[in-house]
Symmetry: C2
Subunit: 506 residues, 2 copies
Amino acid sequence: MPQLRLLPRRAWAALFSQLLRPPCTSSPGAVHCHSQVAEAVLTSQLKPHQDKPNFVIKTPKGTRDLSPQQMVVREKILDLVVSCFKRHGAKGLDTPAFELKEVLTEKYGEDSGLIYDLKDQGGELLSLRYDLTVPFARYLAMNKVKKMKRYHVGKVWRRESPTVLQGRYREFCQCDFDIAGQFDPMIPDAECLKIMCEILSGLQLGDFLIKVNDRRIMDGMFAVCGVPESKFRAVGSSIDKLDKMSWKDVRHEMVAKKGLAPEVADQIGDYIQCHGGVTLVEQMFQDPRLSQNKQALEGLEDLKLLFEYLTLFGISEKISFDLSLARGLDYYTGVIYEAILLQSPAQAGEEPLSMGSVAAGGRYDGLVGMFDPKGHNVPCVGLSIGVERIFSIVEQRMKTLGERIRTSETQVFVATPQKNFLQERLKLIAELWDAGIKAEMLYKNNPKLLTQLHYCENMGIPLAVIIGEQELKEGVIKLRSVASREEVAIKRENLVAEIQKRLSES
Amino acid sequence: MPQLRLLPRRAWAALFSQLLRPPCTSSPGAVHCHSQVAEAVLTSQLKPHQDKPNFVIKTPKGTRDLSPQQMVVREKILDLVVSCFKRHGAKGLDTPAFELKEVLTEKYGEDSGLIYDLKDQGGELLSLRYDLTVPFARYLAMNKVKKMKRYHVGKVWRRESPTVLQGRYREFCQCDFDIAGQFDPMIPDAECLKIMCEILSGLQLGDFLIKVNDRRIMDGMFAVCGVPESKFRAVGSSIDKLDKMSWKDVRHEMVAKKGLAPEVADQIGDYIQCHGGVTLVEQMFQDPRLSQNKQALEGLEDLKLLFEYLTLFGISEKISFDLSLARGLDYYTGVIYEAILLQSPAQAGEEPLSMGSVAAGGRYDGLVGMFDPKGHNVPCVGLSIGVERIFSIVEQRMKTLGERIRTSETQVFVATPQKNFLQERLKLIAELWDAGIKAEMLYKNNPKLLTQLHYCENMGIPLAVIIGEQELKEGVIKLRSVASREEVAIKRENLVAEIQKRLSES
């Protein structure tokens, strides 16, 4: 897929060149960087007093603050994701952080227990949203929207239990793209997979693979193996755990907890070992049992068509038909997919990371109808980018490479070598701000010149303007390149133009 | 303040020219715009069925979805706000949507009852954040950060009661900029006011005024009027209601509910009528009673210095020292400020809007210490932009002017006049996406040409590329300007370059 990478790779390279600058030592007087953020804990101690906290100061379990360094990385990654969504014509949408409790009820299967409820303070019963998909479906039904291509970037909340919390958060960001509407089969579905490929290629996370399956094929498989229909979703939930548990343990859960006969579980075990390209689709058409199941056949027909479109998009070699892919959520009705990174076990200098899926989605044709008073449906297909995992990978990589990030975008620093020059600095910096130039100065009446220049070097500010008695008398300002330490006197009236010229060249 | 407006006004004009396009009629087949969003309600009726909702489908009370149209306006406004924060050297920061309940306790005075609590589902007691300031102070204390200039854009939640809900939301966005650290007096404070001026000028909301006061002057005023110290905050809360209630009602509240002697209330009434520029500061230095109060004198000294810096910034005529400004929140300790729009009562074609304050802030030197186990303080000053009110004004203005907004950024539409050309369209659109071009097509096997061209006109897409048998045979693509309807045949291999040229020119 070489042509795919052209633009995003350039964009990504540009990101890194923006982000990175040579490490340098810190100086006093600087607004300090600080990285000791997540889950740092200060216990209350000594001199208890009414104004002091008598509890542990921390963020809630499973949540974290994002430091300026993390925010820079996050912003760049989200920009790349959102610009891809916009490239595909998506509109923005936002929904409240909480919904009526009933909106979320019976949408998430076994995971429903992880929903955060709000306290009943009189009035409506509310819950924090668990994903962005159910609120989107609620929005479509509530506004009788029949067609829409939208993206949504926002936080969602899940009360993950401590045992699964490792590497997961209870508050995390989702980036969703969905296409709602009645269209000819598999065209929007193929576009969703194209988008996942564009984003994962663009982010340069290494090689990846997208597993594809279809809920109808899975249900057909359950049916021909002898699973009672009432147990389809429960058994699907067990299979969904195959990325965290061995087949042996999953099989045990299906038999002991979900009440499947051992021979039924074993038949399922045979099927879910199958994965491959479009040839596996053809092969399954020939499967003597599966080919007798109407639902499964429909799913296989769609997958065949999907692979045809993926080939035209030039991404079919990134896609694997995988009968073990289940996806936990209740609301999927057709094609489902999940992207995983194919990390070589020991990439140069990097800690091995178990990342799980970094993007996923599928078709949910019945969800909108659950909110419509007459049950009218709007077919939908969509995807969600697992940006938290992507953030972790990029952060880890930058840490390993010892890369430092600029956390502010300041272009010019206003300095003086003399005492009692605060007024002149204030006038000068206001001129720069009013011209749209990103500028800072120290909030001191009489800072030392060395402190001011150290601040520039420390913060990676490229230019400094220096004003003193001599300059004031001559009507000039000294313009200093922080890296080369070269200084040149510029007439005050030409200063803004000269700075803008230098910034546009760099 | 003419020079202030130069850049922002240009930027804003550019925004509007991007946003607007001539209204046109809608066509079938288009992904429809839809505006009937907020608070639309579908009642469940007819054929109750397990899959149909047996409750009213709506967003929670006091919250709303943001439609694509609203999101475009919001995105542009937030871009302007955030770019101003970055121009002043701020770093980004994010904190969780909820905090430990104790973190929010005793920070908001009488408003504490409006905090949303989460249900106790086992584990920690949590509350949704009420503003972005307390989480920032918690972050500073938790990470022992002594200096930081940060911005934060995020949602906050307040259980406003139905009577005050009019025009307010229970979920709303805040844009905060704060400077933490021990610096020479009034330099960061002046910068905060400069930022408010830059943003309000840049947004072109009409003339505005920033009221300034100081908690120490207010407390000094209370003291010399004979208010017992234990009632300072409660009486301040009453005065804070002067934008919603008459002085008569506020006076009644102070006397009847807060237990002030009537003559004390009247003395306060005399003071809070005073407002003016730096000359009022001078005048208050001469006030025989206020000048005897140490706290008030400190506040007046600082205000005098502040006005000196504001004059250097060229914004002093936008600032009014106003003794009636109280600000409801408990945590302010020094300078406080609030920006209001000065709307002429009947601006051409616009509905009169009662907007209240559109930005506010102040100094809070004691808040970080409340989270530090040893009570170590970090002085802070900051501001918050009331973007929800600004959104409403801009929306209202656009509605009045009958302006339509493009909700997607699609540059090129891929069309065909012939049947059975889906495969060619898919290949062509993938080429465009891979070249970074924003492109769409209809998700139909055989759409009519007219439907496709209508879609372009409807959605404001500037270019269409058309592929049919003739073009395929000749190795060309027809490139159509949607507005002029001019078509020209371009060699397939030159298509991307030609499109990029046209887009860069437009």
